[in-house]
């Protein structure tokens, strides 16, 4: 069953590449980004999402990147490859591994990237794409930023849902 705006989102416990364990609770707002290493859409939007993580950290927003892709068929999305990537790049957010794909299924995530914004009570406030154009860095993840600004003001985002755009999540067969 897919989540709708206003629903309480499922909690989870996932490990990141540095040995930390994360859940969907404990922040004034939490951004979940289902992403991966090999999808051009996820890569094109990555820097914009990382900027959001940096810009909103002081306001108590936690951004969690989650890779749920089947690493058997897509070795570039393996946990080892995730660790390599975080080691090579400057990541301002933890990179979580959803090895069983249970979290991606619970959120009904479709593509990479697929963005979910939860408020402090874990209610879904935004779901969709970071902004309107993966091809234009100037778009600046503005839809995600607008949603976070609204949540931090205690308001409903004016644009609560957009169509996520990207590569399909690689489900295990």
């Amino acid at each position: 069953m897919s989540l709708t705006i206003g629903d309480t989102a499922p909690d989870f416990q996932l490990n990141d590449t540095e040995g930390g364990t994360w859940s969907a609770t404990g922040s004034s707002a939490t951004v979940l980004v289902f992403t991966c290493n090999h999808c051009p859409y996820a890569l094109a939007w990555h820097d914009r999402i990382a900027e959001v993580a940096r810009d909103y950290a002081e306001r108590g927003v936690r951004v969690l990147a989650i890779n749920a892709n089947d690493a058997e068929r897509y070795p570039r999305d393996s946990f080892e490859a995730m660790k390599d990537r975080v080691g090579r790049e400057d990541w301002p957010m933890p990179y979580l591994h959803d090895a069983t794909q249970e979290v991606a299924r619970a959120y009904d995530a479709k593509v990479t990237p697929d963005v979910f914004v939860l408020d402090g009570e874990r209610r879904l406030r935004y779901r969709g794409a970071p902004d309107s154009d993966y091809d234009d860095p100037r778009a600046g993840a503005v839809w995600l930023r607008e949603a976070l600004d609204a949540v931090l003001r205690g308001e409903e985002p004016a644009r609560a849902e957009t169509k996520p755009v990207g590569c399909s999540i690689k489900w295990k067969s």
């Binding site: 090999h38 999808c39 051009p40 859409y41 890569l43 094109a44 068929r73 897509y74 070795p75 570039r76 993966y134 091809d135 860095p137 590569c167």
Partner: protein
């Protein structure tokens, strides 16, 4: 994207054939490294890097300005089509 470039360049003599890769077996048989792959006279518009893996996936392209993209740089495509058209004339 390819048809658009052909139209812009006024090269109606260039034919476009599309081939859908549906299964992992299809990918293996075709040596397919991801979608979209554009072959011009049999040659990949952007030759695959050594680490590319065969399979059903999206391809990662890099535009001339360094941006990562799911599609090749339009200028790379236009130039390759023009080269192909010139080669055809010289045959």
């Amino acid at each position: 994207m390819v048809r658009e470039a052909i139209s812009e360049l006024g090269l109606p003599e260039i034919e476009v054939h599309t081939h859908e890769i549906v299964t992992e077996d299809d990918a293996r048989d075709a040596g397919f490294i991801g979608s979209p792959t554009i072959l011009i006279d049999g040659a990949d518009l952007v030759p695959a890097a050594a680490e590319e893996q065969i399979g059903l996936s999206c391809r990662v392209y890099r535009r001339r300005d360094g941006r990562i993209s799911p599609t090749p740089d339009p200028d790379d495509l236009r130039e390759a089509l023009e080269r192909a058209a010139r080669a055809e004339v010289n045959r």
